[in-house]
Amino acid sequence: MNPDNPENSIEPQGSSQAESGLPLAEVKKKMKSLTRRSLVWTAIAVVFADKGWKWLASRRQENGIPWPMAIALKTNEEIARDLFNEHALAKEYPKSSEEDVIDNGDIGRPESENSSPWKITVSDDNWDHDMHFTMADILSLPKVEMTTELRCIEGWSRIVSWGGCRLVDFMKAHPPSSRTSGAIDFGNFATLPEYVSITTPDDDYYVGLDVTSAIHPQTLLCYEMNGKPLEPKHGAPLRLVIPTKYGIKNIKWIGALTYTDTRPDDYWADQGYDWYAGL
């Protein structure tokens, strides 16, 4: 029982108000003053909500996002990284459930496909010189196959089989410079760069990855799709597959890779999308 419960409205409950009724005219007067007071509050609330909403929408933009929302997205990212296990694996499906993937986007696609041998440039904030690799270097690393769901930020998703090498294996083979005085250690984040930036040869498309996502075991440098060599429209000869992120991070036609400690630019983040884009 709740003594304050106004549900028992018919019963006076010993309260003086319920027992001593007043003629309708007087009660109406009382109600009117109550209503007037409430309507003032209502007006304040409506103005506040309206102004607040417009204020939010018109804030200075950071990469196409009004700054309050940019803070919200960054907060969501930090909460997600703390709350969830960042090393959680994306669900893998049987190979039989693979689907045709939609070809969605050709930003950064090289104009001529079979010109000179493909070259991948690797750089590091702390290196004096870039390193260059060919597809042979990629193919020499252990091949991994997985069937995962590619989720587009636009809403569709497709289950696709991928074949390639782990980005972390590539990073171990061609490691960044250690960020501490000690040797590089992939189990110790203090020694690793904070981010990996990946771009197409012409720099038209570019993505930034936090290092945790980069060294995730399901993050692949991929050259096979649904059991066949990658098609040019899907990023041949080399693309990134990262099922822990939206499709926008799965950059095609990888031309360069940079180890860096400053948050790299990201093509879609520059257009108002969440930089982290983690799933």
Binding site: M1, N2, D4, N5, P6, E7, N8, S9, I10, E11, P12, Q17, A18, E19, S20, G21, L22, P23, L24, V27, K28, K30, M31, L34, T35, R37, S38, T42, A45, A49, W53, P66, P68, M69, A72, L73, N76, A80, L83, F84, N85, E86, A88, L89, K91, I102, E149, R151, I153, E154, G155, W156, S157, T244, W268, G272, Y273, D274, G278, L279
Partner: protein
């Protein structure tokens, strides 16, 4: 509720200003309005952003599209009045419907959606906590007879049934079902939202809802239910009249005092 209004003809009727809705409930209620509006609007921006393109996410039911293709490509028919809202641009020499302006605003939709869901979640959490702690939940939680009685309420509203079905407390049993149901839908909204937002990191949740595609399906239809609730709710409030609407703003209502003090109803005190 007025059990024996005609009991004493000699005395004039007496009234009191009676507390109906606590301040907290009123705030939770009204905060929901702009918040849910923003969530549905930004959700539409996300949903509509690319739906009109071939092969894109369509809402399907057992493999069949729920809405016709035109639903995703709303272009205005030639008879569409000029004074009704629509974009000034044209598509294929047809003026565009205002819904069309929802297209290609995915990033905008996402940052509003992923900011405002906090307000929706926190307001909802406070509302539910308040209901539990204050005992207000007793007003809205359905009882065993609620299902049967709520059917009668609907029949009464449709003027098929003449007698108004009994109610326990300030709400009738259809209201009890609806107000408790909408809370559950709100919770489902958050759960399916997280399942879509973090399908890898919260993969157990996504799996619980039957996978990524199913979670999106649930999220969409829960939204439709909220919209349906809104329409019926507003209609009923208009129908019920000013005094009832006023009570959600002021918290008070005018009530007639029961003159015969020895014959009161005992129900509603559960």
């Amino acid at each position: 509720m007025d059990p024996h209004s005609s009991s004493d003809l000699a005395q004039p009727d007496l009234y009191v200003v009676k507390k109906k809705h606590p301040l907290a409930i009123r705030w939770f209620h009204w905060i929901n309005f702009p918040v849910i509006f923003t969530m549905v609007w930004s959700g539409l921006l996300i949903f509509w952003a690319n739906s009109s393109r071939p092969g894109y996410a369509r809402v399907t039911l057992f493999g069949h599209p729920v809405f016709p293709k035109s639903f995703y490509q709303p272009s205005v028919p030639s008879w569409w009045p000029k004074w009704l809202p629509h974009d000034t641009e044209t598509v294929n020499n047809q003026p565009k419907l205002f819904l069309y302006s929802l297209k290609y605003r995915l990033a905008e939709g996402m940052y509003w959606h992923f900011f405002f869901f906090w307000f929706f979640a926190i307001n909802g959490l406070l509302y539910i906590s308040y209901l539990i702690l204050s005992g207000e939940w007793r007003k809205i939680v359905p009882q065993k007879k609620s299902l049967a009685l709520s059917i009668k309420v609907v029949l009464h509203d449709l003027r098929i049934l003449k007698k108004e079905p009994e109610k326990d407390g300030i709400y009738n049993h259809a209201q009890r079902l609806a107000y408790t149901g909408i809370i559950l839908i709100g919770i489902l909204m958050i759960i399916s939202g997280v399942a879509i937002y973090k399908p890898t990191q919260a993969s157990w949740l996504t799996a619980l809802l039957g996978g990524y595609v199913m979670a999106k399906w649930i999220h969409f239809w829960a939204t439709m239910l909220i919209c349906a609730f809104f329409v019926v709710h507003v209609f009923q409030v208009i129908k019920t009249g000013w005094a009832n609407f006023r009570s959600m703003i002021t918290g008070h209502d005018i009530e007639k005092v029961a003159v015969t003090s020895n014959s009161r109803e005992s129900e509603g005190a559960a």
